[in-house]
Symmetry: C2
Subunit: 393 residues, 2 copies
């Protein structure tokens, strides 16, 4: 089996998470177990861009102590990128791999990165070059198809749910009556929905949750806020950064839509600030907004231990499957039960993942579509790795 | 000494902090030690407003286990308020105290609350009623006169500095080249300045720090960002929410200035979002903003152990001084040395604190006034209670 003596390239794409480097370590550990000492394991710097630049670092060399530190660090240790492949680039990547005798390519990323991996896998096949192309799931948005959930999501869920507990303790005690917490998530509301975990007693924050799958109707939103305010005098609302109105327009500032990222998605504006101004002007209730933003995906202190373990294990599983000869797959998590929480790992073809987006199913929403049902709590609770820190009041 | 058999009222004013309830517990513990069993210790709900409503709760009753939980909870356990006394209200408060045989009034708060305490103390004197009126310092803004620093500040400093470490790890690894982190602080830049602690190596975040004591010149700001961007390709900036331009105008959205809080200060808008749009439009560099907002003063997980201990101890000290017969004072922290860090507690007359504001001295700023000198690090480092969690890169 010549492939087992061949070289490896690993890259990290898209937005980092708190556990993205645990995935990296999982691949390195798995491949180290299966390859002989002559094999090189490289990390491409800056995602797929680093593949083309041949800006590769040797991942066999680091000591265990450094790995322990790296695996627990947020931010992509190799550097990341936002880039779609242009015509001919998949073939160009394969030729570089061929030149360096790379037989295994692992891309740790979200749905765009899975597409990149798939294209490279197909190009290798058409060039008749044996390359094992593997996707490792990673996204706080939890929007990858084919997997119960995505590494990174549990940690971000823990961060935003804990922030919502803390925010509730503050707002409850001081008459800043309305606070709107903005949560990351452009199209998929999984992460915003996870703030429901902050609620332990009926009047706990969050009182209203709005996800981007449901167009926001301003009058309905204002009536919802008014209703809670009249009932208890304070309101904590959580909203996805990607909320859109009935016309499909982002609710944040329009000006920022002119700025586009590398994938040519419009960047959402500051939806929480926009809604806070709406509450203040229309309801004449003092309102403010909080937006931890990138901090929510970069906190090692608030990372979920379950998420970290799974990030490492599913990546390790992927490496072993590649060594067994599988290719053009993403490693995935399959949930066997909620309670006790149990998962196993499996492979799904990249064709079933690439470029697709898994939105929050409507059956997780209450009929009013401004809150989540208990089935969603059952889904997300095990992923955050233990209880939140709750406060007396 | 009849006063020692008399009753006690404690209230919490202004914005909560992560350790405001440690202060509450400190007062209760101190007074419990000095008063006999017949004395009542009441907490007024909702700050000074609760004094007038006579909405008081018995603080002698809670078990130690509940106190342990309350003391570690963010948010004001008694509830808080933003209210200035109107004419005659100080006298009205004294008459209520007289009716209930209250001889000790403790107000845990910032400079506005200190003014309330002073007015009530003066009214008691003019009404010839013996009342011990005591201020307990509490503000994340660190802007009280007469004390080396304020309980609440160290914990918020830890939160924002750690958030800046985490944000740096994320932004360094992904080409979202500019992130602007908004830090609480309307007029005083102490807390924003504390983000300097995130920097361990020269290229670590934050790269630029702007405090409200220095008017922001847009062209200078853009040139600063451009310069760092050209040098290293990524920039993390921290800014105070209260940044103003050369004309003294808040840099955030103007519309929100119409909304005013109970003290009739204009509320600042979203300065980080405003500056991110400025960078994107003027420099054509992708920029975004993060604004943890209230979450930054409500995190028990990121509270400083030093801050928590001091919050309790200075409040306990205040109780003992009141029992010794002192009145119309604020308990304060006096720093004896930076390294080893040592403080002692003392009293300062409320007249030297009330309504005054201690801004960040210019000698802590670099000549460019977009960063802090090492003397400020020496000042703030001991207050955050140990090292930050740093990350590999």
């Amino acid at each position: 089996m010549p492939a087992k003596r061949a070289n490896v390239v690993i890259a990290q794409g898209g937005g980092p998470t708190a556990v993205i480097n645990s995935s990296l370590y999982g691949v390195v550990r798995g491949m180290s177990e299966g390859l002989d000492d002559s094999a090189r394991i490289w990390g491409a710097r800056g995602g797929i861009v680093g593949v083309f630049d041949e800006h590769w670092v040797d991942l066999c060399k680091p000591q265990q102590s450094l790995w322990d530190e790296v695996a627990h660090s947020p931010g992509a240790a190799l550097g990341s990128c936002r880039k779609r492949l242009a015509d001919g680039e998949a073939e160009a990547a394969v030729r570089i791999f061929q030149k360096k005798e790379v037989r295994y390519f692992f891309y740790i990323g979200g749905n765009d990165s899975m597409d990149t991996a798939l294209q490279i896998g197909r190009a290798a096949e058409s060039l008749n070059y044996e390359l094992h192309t593997v996707g490792i799931p990673k996204t706080i948005d939890n929007d990858l198809m084919g997997t119960d959930h995505c590494p990174g999501f549990g940690s971000a869920s823990r961060y935003f749910a804990q922030s919502c507990v803390d925010l509730g303790a503050d707002v409850r005690s001081l008459p800043t009556p309305v606070s709107i917490l903005e949560v990351m998530g452009r199209n998929a509301g999984w992460l915003t929905a996870a703030t429901m975990l902050a609620r332990d007693e009926p009047d706990d924050a969050p009182h209203l949750i709005y996800v981007p799958e449901v167009p926001l109707v301003r009058e309905k939103f204002l009536a919802d806020v008014r209703d809670i305010y009249d009932k208890q005098g304070w309101v904590v609302v959580t909203v996805s950064e990607g909320l859109k109105d009935e016309n499909g327009q982002f609710l944040g500032e329009q000006r920022i839509e002119a700025i586009r990222d590398g994938f040519d998605h419009a960047l959402p504006g500051d939806v929480a600030a926009t809604l806070a101004r709406l509450v203040a002007s229309e309801l004449e209730i003092r309102a403010r907004s909080e937006k931890p933003g990138l901090c929510g995906r970069a906190s090692a202190l608030l990372a979920s231990t379950t998420d970290r373990t799974e990030a490492l294990n599913v990546a390790h599983f992927a490496a072993l499957k590649a060594l067994e000869g599988e290719t053009r797959f993403m490693a995935a998590l399959h949930r066997d039960s909620d309670s006790p929480y149990r998962v196993h790992y499996e492979t799904v073809p990249l064709t079933q993942v690439a470029n697709l987006e898994r939105l929050l199913p409507f059956e997780y929403l209450t009929p009013q579509r401004n809150d989540l049902v208990k089935e969603y709590r059952n889904y997300v609770q095990p992923l955050i790795g233990g209880s939140l820190l709750r406060h007396a009041h």
